[in-house]
C-alpha cells in the first residue's frame, strides 16, 4: 500500500480518480480479443507464405546475376524529407502535405481512407488562412450533436473557427511533433457543435506567424451515423451506469464484471441500414431484440431484472459482411 503519513492532496486526487474512472472505461470484451488474435494468426500464416514466395523469387533472380559485378547505384535523395521542423524557413508543398497526413494519422485516418466529416491540409501561408467544408451540399451532415476535433503537426499554433447556420465558435490547437518515447502527446482541441437541421460545418483554419507554411492540420467531426444514432437516443431516468455511441461492423460487447442486483433499462438506437441484434444480460437474466437500423431511428428499450450481483454484458451482433452501422445506447439501473 502507498505509505501515506498524513492528509495529502495527491492521495486525495487519486482517490477521487480511482472512484470515478472505472465508470468511464469501456471494456471491449474477451470476444473482441479472441477475434483480434484469430485475425493476426491468419495474417501471419499468409505473410509467411508470401515471404517464402518472395525468398524463392529473389533467390532465382540472384542466381541469374551470380558472377556479374553489382551495379553501383547513385545515392538517391529521399523522396520525402523529414517534415520535422523547429521554425526556420517555410516548407515546400510536399513537406506541408506530409505534416497534414501526420495530423490525419493522429485521428486514425489516412488520405486513402477518409470518411465524411474529415478534412486535412497544410496551414496556409495567407494571413486569412484556409476554408474547409465538412459535409457537402449534396450530402450534408445530418442533424445532431457533434464533437469537432482538430490537431496540428509542425510548429506554432492554429486557430480553428467553425460555423454552422445557427452557431459558431473558435478553438486553438498547438502544432507539435509526435512526442518522444513515453511522453504525452499534446491534447487535441475539441468543441461541441450542434446541428439543429442537416447542414454543413465551415472551418476556417488560420496559423500564427510560426505555423504558416510550417504546419499541417487535420480536423474531424463525429461519424455522421453516430450523430444520427446519438441524436435519436432518449435517455431515461435512473442511475446512469453505461453508454456509448459507436460504429460497429461486427459483434461488440461491453462488459461490467461487478454489476449490482437491480432493474436494468437499456435504451438504444441504430443508424444505418439493415438490422442488429441487441442483447442485455446480467448473470442468468437476459433479453435480446432485433433492432432495425435507419436514417431516422427510433429508440427501443430492453429491461432486465437481476436478482443478484453478476457480470453484465451489452452485446450488439452485426454480420461482418454487412455495411457498418452506428449504435448509441444508454443504460440505467433503478
Amino acid at each position: 500500500m502507498p505509505e501515506q503519513m498524513e492528509h495529502e492532496p495527491l492521495a486525495e486526487a487519486f482517490f477521487q480518480f480511482r472512484m470515478q474512472a472505472p465508470d468511464e472505461i469501456v471494456v471491449p470484451g474477451v470476444p473482441v480479443a479472441r477475434r483480434t488474435v484469430r485475425r493476426r494468426r491468419t495474417a501471419r500464416v499468409s505473410a509467411v507464405a508470401a515471404l517464402t514466395a518472395l525468398v524463392l523469387a529473389v533467390g532465382g533472380y540472384s542466381a541469374t546475376l551470380l558472377g556479374a559485378p553489382a551495379p553501383v547505384q547513385p545515392a538517391v535523395p529521399s523522396a520525402s524529407p523529414s517534415p520535422t521542423v523547429f521554425a526556420g524557413p517555410a516548407l515546400n508543398a510536399d513537406q506541408l502535405r506530409q505534416l497534414g497526413v501526420k495530423a490525419l494519422d493522429r485521428l486514425g485516418f489516412t488520405p486513402e481512407r477518409l470518411r465524411r466529416g474529415v478534412a486535412f491540409g497544410p496551414v496556409d501561408a495567407a494571413a486569412g488562412g484556409s476554408t474547409h467544408l465538412l459535409g457537402t451540399a449534396a450530402q450534408p451532415l445530418p442533424a445532431g450533436r457533434y464533437t469537432l476535433v482538430a490537431v496540428c503537426r509542425g510548429v506554432g499554433r492554429i486557430t480553428v473557427d467553425w460555423r454552422t447556420d445557427d452557431d459558431e465558435g473558435t478553438m486553438d490547437a498547438p502544432c507539435t511533433d509526435p512526442p518522444a518515447d513515453g511522453n504525452v502527446d499534446s491534447p487535441a482541441a475539441r468543441a461541441e457543435v450542434q446541428l439543429r437541421a442537416p447542414g454543413l460545418i465551415t472551418l476556417s483554419v488560420t496559423g500564427d506567424g510560426l505555423a504558416r507554411s510550417r504546419a499541417g492540420f487535420a480536423a474531424m467531426v463525429t461519424d455522421p451515423l453516430m450523430a444520427i444514432a446519438d441524436y435519436a437516443l432518449a435517455r431515461p431516468s435512473g442511475d446512469h451506469v453505461g453508454g456509448v455511441s459507436m460504429v460497429i461492423d461486427r459483434t461488440e460487447i461491453d462488459t461490467d464484471p461487478d454489476a449490482k442486483a437491480g432493474i436494468y433499462v437499456l435504451t438504444l438506437t441504430c443508424a444505418g441500414t439493415g438490422t442488429i441484434k441487441a442483447t442485455l444480460r446480467v448473470g442468468e437474466a437476459g433479453s435480446t431484440r432485433t433492432v432495425r437500423c435507419s436514417e431516422r431511428p427510433s429508440p427501443i428499450t430492453i429491461t432486465v431484472t437481476a436478482k443478484r450481483a453478476a457480470t453484465r454484458k451489452v452485446i450488439f451482433d452485426r454480420r461482418p459482411e454487412d455495411p457498418a452501422v452506428a449504435v448509441a445506447y444508454y443504460l440505467v439501473t433503478r
Binding site: 486526487a13 480511482r18 474512472a21 472505461i25 469501456v26 483480434t36 486514425g108 502527446d185 446519438d230 459507436m246
Partner: protein
C-alpha cells in the same frame, strides 16, 4: 525481459490484491476471468499515466490480446496479470508501439456518454503531465496500483532510493498544483 520487450515470466506478486483469475484445473488460469477482473484496473492506471482514456483502453486491450496469443505459457505463470500489466506499461511508455495500436483501434471511433471531467480531474491530469515520464509512472504505480516503494522499484528496475526521491519530488510539485489556493479556500 526478452528482445520484444515483453516479460518472460509472470511470477511477481500482484500488489493489487484483487481477483486474479484463480488457477483452475492443472494450475492454469482462466483468461475470461482474468480479463474481467483486471481490465478496468489496468486501464485506470494507464488512463492516469497517458491522460487519454481511449488510448489507455486500446493499450490494455492490446496487452490482453498478446497474453491470449500465448495463453498456453502465460496461464501457467503464478501471476499472469503481472505479465499483462508489464506488457501494458511497456506499450504505454513506448510512443512508437502505442501510436501503431492507437491508429488501428481509433478507426473504430467510439464516444462514451460520460460527464465532463471534473475540475479536480483536469487539475490532476495537468499536474501529472508536468512530470517526466518515469517519475509519472512511479506516481501512478504507487498511488493507483497501490504498489509499495519496493515494488515500484522492482517494476521499474531502479533502486528504492530513486523511487523515494521521485515520489518526494512529485508530492511537492503536484501538491503545490493540486492544493486549493487561499482565495478558493476563503470562497469555500
Amino acid at each position: 525481459m526478452n528482445a520484444a520487450g515483453t516479460p518472460t515470466h509472470g511470477a511477481r506478486r500482484a500488489p493489487e490484491g484483487a481477483r486474479s483469475g484463480a488457477p483452475g484445473e492443472q494450475g492454469r488460469h482462466d483468461f475470461d476471468e482474468l480479463y474481467a477482473a483486471h481490465f478496468t484496473s489496468v486501464t485506470t492506471q494507464l488512463f492516469a499515466y497517458l491522460g487519454d482514456r481511449q488510448e489507455a483502453q486500446d493499450v490494455t486491450q492490446e496487452a490482453f490480446c498478446r497474453a491470449l496469443h500465448r495463453w498456453k505459457d502465460v496461464s501457467a505463470y503464478d501471476d499472469p496479470v503481472a505479465w499483462v500489466r508489464r506488457v501494458a506499461w511497456n506499450l504505454a511508455t513506448s510512443h512508437f508501439r502505442r501510436s501503431r495500436i492507437a491508429t488501428a483501434f481509433r478507426r473504430r471511433h467510439r464516444e462514451v456518454h460520460a460527464p465532463e471531467p471534473s475540475p479536480d480531474r483536469v487539475a490532476l491530469f495537468a499536474a501529472l503531465r508536468s512530470l517526466p515520464p518515469r517519475p509519472r509512472q512511479a506516481v501512478v504505480l504507487h498511488y493507483l496500483a497501490d504498489q509499495a516503494v519496493v515494488d515500484v522499484a522492482e517494476t521499474m528496475q531502479v533502486s528504492t532510493g530513486t523511487v523515494k526521491s521521485w515520489l518526494h519530488r512529485a508530492r511537492i510539485a503536484l501538491g503545490e498544483q493540486l492544493r486549493p489556493s487561499a482565495e478558493e479556500v476563503r470562497n469555500a
